[in-house]
């Protein structure tokens, strides 16, 4: 099975995308972090876990463990997995395709080598609930205690202390011994290098938004968190991409586009193509942040502050229980920075978190006069529906 999506090589006007060594290297790196590749790594005896790939990834790497993004669970066979969730686990139909695909795929692959799961209790409730069901298939599921920062800096000391204690517990779970904080500090420094380079690439890309397609841009965001299991190689990829994008400065863009900001996760990645085919270019994207970890703090505290800050900013999404009230600030900043003419707010059908945030953003951007369209997709890989394409086209047409 190949989780690396086929990326369209032609643009809307039929022009071939220029060959990119950076993107080829990114795809090759993603192959090494594919579902099958990771299962092989685990079968060979390396410690691999589901989850732990987001804010906590420096700790996981410091425990000689590869964290795997849950996204892998719905890249393939998502329809079949969702059917298993509904039929076998009796998950009610109203819940989102993401959690159904997750639990279904975990069930199908219950005899595979990756049998440990790490999950953060502040995040998505349905995900927390389905992971309890995964225990029936022999998965060892650990929950990081629920610690939410409802407002920046509020009750910070107690929250940090709780998270530090939890991170120590998770390290013991992974390795059977106390955490090596020096190694965590090294991993934090490494991840900060990755984050800085991803931010640099995204800033360059904002000037040439059609150069790196949406699906591969999403890959960059995810890589900023988990580094594809090989942060040094990812850094090389980012350097190559930065060079290629820098070389484009001063070269006239041959395809006209309407600059847009995309907010949120895109389940059905074919939507990227629909946006581009309709004449849009995603110049900015609020998805996973690029804020650095504070290297001056003790490393476990640094991780704790990182996630609590992200929650308060509305960053890193429902996986960390980010606030629904503040993401619009990030989106508005991105609109200003990129000169975008409109915002596409994207979510997964049936996601309470995203639906509420979309509504708040709809109200807010209407007030400030920035056009916004809210889209919902599932995680399946069929092409977007005619209705979705028509809405995207109409929105972009309205902006042109």
């Amino acid at each position: 099975m190949n989780q690396v999506l086929a990326v369209k090589t032609r643009r809307r006007n039929g022009a071939k995308r220029p060959p990119s060594h950076g993107l080829a290297a990114l795809d090759a790196l993603a192959e090494t972090y594919s579902y099958d590749a990771l299962q092989r790594v685990a079968a060979a005896g390396k410690s691999v876990i589901w989850g732990g790939w987001s804010w906590e990834s420096p700790l996981i790497y410091a425990c000689d463990t590869t964290p795997v993004s849950f996204e892998h669970l719905w890249y393939d066979d998502s329809r079949r997995s969702a059917a298993i969730a509904e039929d076998y686990f009796q998950v009610p139909g109203e819940f989102c395709s993401m959690i159904k695909a997750m639990i279904g795929r975990l069930h199908t692959d219950r005899n595979n080598a990756v049998k440990r799961i790490l999950h953060f209790g502040s995040g998505c409730e349905p995900m927390s609930a389905v992971l309890e069901l995964a225990k029936r298939d022999g998965y060892d599921v650990q929950t990081l205690e629920t610690v939410s920062a409802f407002r920046p800096e509020e009750k910070r000391a107690a929250g940090v202390a709780m998270l530090v204690s939890e991170l120590r517990r998770i390290a013991r779970w992974l390795t059977g011994r106390e955490v090596d904080e020096d190694r965590v500090a090294r991993e934090i420094r490494r991840k900060n290098r990755v984050l800085a380079k991803v931010e640099h690439v995204l800033n360059l890309r904002a000037r040439h938004p059609l150069t790196i397609p949406g699906a591969q841009t999403k890959r960059l965001f995810l890589g900023s968190m988990h580094g594809f299991g090989d942060a040094e190689r990812f850094i090389e990829v980012l350097d190559t991409l930065a060079e290629e994008l820098t070389a484009l400065d001063g070269v006239a863009e041959t395809t006209a586009y309407i600059p847009l900001v995309l907010a949120g996760s895109v389940g059905n990645q074919r939507l990227f193509e629909a946006i581009e085919e309709a004449g849009g270019g995603i110049a900015g994207w609020i998805y996973h942040g690029s804020h650095p970890y504070d290297e001056s703090l003790p490393p476990l505290e640094s991780l704790a502050h990182y996630v609590l800050d992200a929650q308060g900013r509305g960053d890193l999404g429902e996986a960390v229980g980010a606030s629904v009230a503040y993401r619009r600030v990030l989106v508005e900043e991105e609109v200003r920075k990129t000169g975008a003419r409109g915002v596409i707010s994207s979510s997964i059908i049936g996601c309470p978190y995203a639906s509420l945030m979309q509504q708040l953003e709809r109200d807010h951007f209407k007030q400030v006069g920035i056009p916004l369209i809210a889209l919902e997709t599932d995680v399946h890989r069929e092409p977007p529906t005619e209705e979705q394409i028509t809405r995207v086209k109409a929105f972009i047409e309205m902006l042109s």
């Binding site: 998950v91 409730e125 927390s128």
Partner: protein
């Protein structure tokens, strides 16, 4: 859309046993007084059964649990923010506070401060909207019942609650003040448990509707008033002679059953003639099955006591919630379980298979019902409940027939 009044969607005198009418009158008077105010005391509200009223009383606040819901108008009010993918309870919580939308609840609007624990993610999200309408303090509720660090963390959150409640009330709250309330609330919980245990009789002197009214009393009445009312009620009910009726004994398990969401219980008891003898949900018996340690640091005691209570399905591990539900089914010798979850309730919707299987392991049949606050499903509920009760009747008859045969086999 008409705004619901205080009396709408409430149990009426007619739906309650005569013994409960006095309690009902006290509750309604207190609810009206809460709205009127005028006593100079600040009013606090909370949603979740994990909120310790001991602390709010120690601060001298007038307080109430905000769990009145069931009106489609209020749900629709909340949908302005949530679209459709939240449960109707969380939508109602938003709708009841949104004065601008036209179906707000005066009881909710009377609240000076909302104390909201991060229970399920949907309620947390709802509260992020509600804090636009009312000053709100958000608090963390740990999930990991077995972890010492989680207990210490909850104790710290409860001290935050103490500090805010004290500031709101304008007075200091000492440990002794809290300890005193722990003693008082333990007495009340013991009485509520004893009242519930009367339902273990073959012909229970209390209906399920009666017990839900007792729970309303706990969440609306000042504790001293509740204690006196329950004491009198227990004396009366305990002395009542058992009749010959042997109604089918049912447990309701699952999502919150809001004050105002009485359709199913009325259908089961008043139309179908069965009896709800226990509830594994957070507005029934579940929050009363624990006691708080009366010695030592009161905040540690509260943290331990509340985390040790029969857990909501959002707590971990889920197995603890299943064990608590199964124990209740055994203790109350239930013949069947109505597993009722609100549409979009992740805690009880996604976990339903685990609960249903656990009850079946106990040999108890389960009827699973997915519910909301619309009125469109009443007919379907009636048909399904009646069919379920027929199955239970058949099982009872089979057992009766099997009993002499088994006795004879034993004698041989």
């Amino acid at each position: 859309m008409s705004a619901p009044t205080l009396s709408e969607h409430q149990p009426t005198d007619e739906s309650l046993s005569p013994d409960l009418r006095e309690l009902h009158a006290l509750i309604e008077a207190e609810r009206a007084a809460f709205v009127e105010g005028g006593d100079g005391r600040k009013r606090a509200g909370y949603f979740c059964a994990y909120t310790p009223p001991e602390i709010l009383d120690a601060a001298g606040l007038r307080h109430a649990r905000l769990f009145r819901a069931g009106s489609p108008e209020t749900v629709s009010n909340g949908e302005r923010y949530t679209q459709s993918v939240f449960c109707d309870f969380s939508k109602s919580c938003i709708g009841a506070f949104d004065r601008a939308a036209g179906a707000a609840d005066p009881f909710y609007l009377a609240v000076d401060r909302l104390y909201a624990f991060h229970t399920c993610a949907s309620m947390k999200r709802a509260v992020e909207v509600i804090e636009r309408f009312v000053p709100t303090v958000l608090l963390n509720l740990p999930r990991l019942r077995g972890e010492a660090a989680s207990r210490a963390y909850l104790a710290a959150e409860l001290r935050t609650l103490r500090d805010d409640a004290a500031a709101l009330a304008g007075r200091a709250v000492t440990d002794d003040d809290v300890s005193e309330q722990i003693l008082l609330y333990n007495s009340i919980r013991r009485l509520v448990r004893k009242l519930s245990e009367l339902r273990q009789r073959a012909d229970p002197p209390l209906t399920g509707l009666d017990f839900l009214e007792i729970v309303r009393g706990f969440y609306y009445l000042p504790p001293q008033v509740a204690l006196e009312a329950y004491t009198k009620l227990y004396r009366r009910c305990a002395q009542r002679h058992q009749g010959k009726a042997r109604p089918a004994r049912l447990l309701i398990a699952g999502s919150i059953m809001a004050d105002g969401d009485r359709r199913l219980v009325e259908l089961v008891e008043r139309q179908a003639g069965a009896r709800i003898v226990a509830e594994d949900h957070c507005t029934g018996l579940r929050p009363f099955r624990h006691e708080i340690a009366e010695a030592g640091d009161p905040f540690v005691a509260l943290a331990n006591g509340y985390l040790d209570q029969a857990p909501c399905a959002r707590m971990k591990p889920l197995g603890d919630s299943l064990d608590a539900a199964a124990t209740l089914a055994r203790e109350y010798e239930v013949e069947g379980v109505l597993y009722v979850y609100l549409k979009f309730c992740a805690c009880y919707g996604v976990s339903k298979l685990a609960f249903v299987e656990r009850f079946r392991e106990e040999g108890v049949p389960v009827l699973e019902l997915s519910s909301d606050y619309s009125v469109s499903d009443v007919g379907q509920f009636a048909t399904r409940v009646e069919a379920f009760l027929e199955v239970l009747q058949d099982r009872r008859a089979e057992r009766r027939q099997a009993a002499p045969a088994l006795a004879q086999e034993y004698r041989q």
